[in-house]
Structure formats: C-alpha cells, structure tokens
Symmetry: C2
Subunit: 270 residues, 2 copies
C-alpha cells in the first residue's frame, strides 16, 4: 500500500473524519475585513486552514483559482501548501488540477505538482489513457485521483457514452492499474442517482473516492457515506470558506460548519 493510502487511513483513524476542505480562493467573494489582493486572499485561506486543522483529513487547493491570479497566484499556492504543512502536518494535500497530456508533457506537469508545488496528490483526466497517467503514478509516495463520474450537467455528454458507460470503463481500468501502482483514487461526484456511486464502489472496492459536490453543490452527505462507504474524501469548499461574510467570526463559523459535516460522517466511520 502506498504512503498516501497509509497516511490517509492513519489520519482518518486519528481524527474520525473524511472531510476534505476545498480551497477555491476568490478575491471577488472575500468576506468583509480582508484586503482584495493575493495577500488578503492568502490570509483568508490560512484562517480557514487554522480553524479546520483538527477536522480535515485533506485540503484540496483548486489550481484554477490560483492561476487566474497569475504569477502571484502560483506564489500564493506554494505559500498556502507550506502553511498546511506547518499547521496540520498529517493532513493530505490534493491539488485539484485535472491534468492530462502525453507522456513527456505529463512528466512536466508531474514535476510542477509534486516537486515545484509539493502536493501529495493531484486530480487527473483520463481521456488520453494510461500512458498519460504513468508519469504521475510512478511517484510511489504520491497519489492520483482520476476523473470518473462528475455531478455536473455536462457529465451526460460523454461519461455515459457506450456500453458499459465510459465512467464504468474508467473505473474498471483504474481498478486494474491500481494492482500495479497502489496509489490511484477516483473522482466520483455526488450525483442525483445514488445507485451510480454504489456501482462505481462495486467496481473499485477499497479505492479512495474523492467526492466533490457535497454542501453548496447540494449533494447529500448521508447518501454518499451509505453508498460509497468509508474509503472516501468528502469535499466541501464554499460552505466552509464562506461560512461567514465577515472576517470577525469567519474562523468560528468555518470551524462550526466543518464540525457539523464531520459529525454527520462519524456514524459511518465505525
């Protein structure tokens, strides 16, 4: 079992949580009291991290939100990752970047994610196949979450194509590659039909599912835990980041929201 899987299980066991806090910094939506700048945005994120450090199994910075700030954003992303290392050294860092490209190019993305930014894991897009994932999978001490099924309306266009539907084919092949690498997870959204989550779990038992879409996006936490079981990272971004409109009580409210989610998870964690 890879370092990532071991660290995940130890952390889950220790803090009785499968909460992943999504970090989607949006300078235009900052609570009152923060400066609308990369510095103010960084301060906001760090206060949320501090407030949830005992409740989060993982943090998931969303690359897009940093990239739209340009070079400053990359500096901020590195800084935020370092901050997590300092205040929650056992927490796992999942860079949500949905990368996917040819082998040689993928090696450069892997270097950017695992060396330059020092994330523990990354989200990947499977369209270009196993070859495009290998430069990431070869990092034994890191992990990769492969896009399988998403909960957005656009999922209908391609993810259900063919027999079996493409998303099941992705789950099947990833399950097979997992035998070889041991450090693969799947991104499986909290879709409207809970049967789908159950189907993917039956194809890929024991693999960690990163489940976005709970909270602001409306997914139901109980249904996720019932159908996917305990090997999950349940992500919530906006409901925690923007738990208050004001800096004054942001930390308190973000912590309360995270605690409320964790309390709903615990009955399923044995």
């Amino acid at each position: 079992m890879s370092t990532f899987y071991t660290r995940y299980r130890e952390r889950r066991e220790t803090i009785k949580s499968v909460l992943c806090v999504g970090l989607d910094p949006d300078p235009t939506r900052l609570p009152q009291g923060y400066q609308q700048s990369p510095e103010g945005t960084g301060q906001h994120l760090k206060e949320v991290i501090d407030a949830t450090a005992d409740l989060a199994v993982a943090y998931k910075p969303n690359a897009a939100f940093f990239e739209s700030m340009g070079s400053d954003g990359w500096g901020l992303l590195k800084d935020v990752i370092q901050h997590i290392r300092n205040v929650a050294p056992q927490a796992l860092i999942v860079l949500d970047a949905k990368r996917g490209d040819l082998g040689n190019t993928a090696s450069h993305y892997a270097a950017a994610v695992f060396e330059e930014l020092d994330a523990d894991s990354v989200t990947l897009n499977p369209y270009m196949g196993k070859e495009s994932l290998i430069p990431f999978l070869e990092r034994e001490d890191r992990a990769s979450f492969v896009l399988c099924l998403t909960s957005n309306s656009g999922a209908q266009d391609f993810q259900y194509h063919g027999v079996p539907p493409l998303y099941q084919r992705v789950a099947q092949l990833c399950r097979q590659w997992q035998e070889e690498f041991g450090n693969i997870g799947l991104v499986v959204g909290a879709t409207r039909d809970p049967e789908e989550l159950r189907t993917v779990r039956s194809i890929a038992p024991g693999m960690i599912f990163l489940v976005p879409g709970v909270g602001s996006q409306g997914g139901d936490l109980d249904q996720v835990m019932q159908n996917a079981g305990p090997d999950v990272l349940v992500n919530s971004s906006r409901s925690i980041l923007f738990a208050s409109h004001n800096k004054v009580d942001l930390a308190e409210k973000a912590k309360a929201e995270a605690m409320s989610l964790v309390n709903k998870m615990r009955p399923y964690l044995g």
Copy 2:
C-alpha cells in the same frame, strides 16, 4: 465567423502556411550556448520565434513546460506571449493546456488563459461535457481546440470506447456546438491510420484541426494534408526548437526546418 477563424484564414492566405510552432521549453535540453535558467530558456524560445516569424501561422506554448519552472515559468510564459505579439503580430497563440473542469472553475481557467496570459486560444479536454467548455466558448474573440483523437498509445484506452467510438462522438457534438459558437477547433493527432483523420474531417468539415505529432513524433505531413485538407494547424515542436545543438546556428537551422515543412504544405494550400 469568429475573429480567430478570420485571422487564421487571413494569415494562412498571406504567408501560405499552416505551420504551428510548438514551444516546449526544456532547460535540460537547451542547445549549447544558452544559460540553463528561465532567462536562457526564454532567449532560446525568442530566437526560435524570431527565426520563424514569417513562416508560422501560430505558436503553441505548452503550459506544462512552463509550470514545471514554477512562478518564474509563469512570468516567462507571459513574456514569451508578449514577444510573439511584438515580432509576429498576425500570428495566433494557442496555449496548450488541456484544461477542463466545472463551470465556475472553468471560468477561472478561462480568465487565466485569455486575460492573465492573453492567449488567442487554448486546448480543452471534453470529459466533463459542454458545460465545462462554455466559459471558454463564450469568449467570441478567442477560440478553443477540443481534444478529439490523439496519436499516443494511451488513446486506445478510452477514445475508441463505444459505438460510435468516443472520439467520433466528441467530433459530432463539437460540430453541433460549432453552429452555436463558431470558435471551436479539434485536436486530432497524426495517427497511424490515416482513415481516422478522414473520418473526423467528414464529421466536422470546415473546423480547424490542430494536428500535433508531425516531425519528431513521426507523423507523415503528406498524409495529414491529404486526409484533413487545408483547415489545419500542423504543429511541430522539437524538430524546430532543437534543430541545432548549438546556439551559433540554431536560428538558421530552425528557420530551415520550418521552411522545409512549409514547402511540403504549400502544394495542398491551393
């Protein structure tokens, strides 16, 4: 017709070329005489751009190679794009980034690509469907190239899944969305079976195909032009960037290589 399509056709007409020069800067592979640093890498790219400014319809910086240099890389990428604007103002800039994510996140990627970096177009991954492409497609003055069929071995894993094969379904839907937006192209690799390129062309007549894989990756230029027709951007990266191992004659040899490719294209451009 979008600005991008118009600019593409005018440029093709003026310089009788469909050459796209791929910019994959690799500090570890720099020709002798350049400093192994972001500055040296930038100098290398700029000399190649200067040498090919009258031959390239487009330049395609590959985001991964810049990202692996961290914040410096992002600064370099902006600088290189600005340099292209200065020395070849009619040339089109395609950022090869293979982005694809939920609507809200995709908006941030679109801001990063079109505002922060000021590229004319971008490559996108279709896995999450139309909804994930819309924030890019809504930019009427920019264009998006959607991954359809790639020439790597990993393409077998998912792109041929289902009936019709997934890559044909992607081409069909993009053709349909093109009616609405007018600024979509497809990424179609120079695969071993030339019949495939012909099939995609029959599904998507008139759409610009970005065709990587010619040159170092072994694709045959004549077959591409015969099967895809003139509405293409044929990309070559390494054969031009590393046309010489020494700075002394790099510009001359890069230009000769580009000229040789353009001479092979011209018989097909009428």
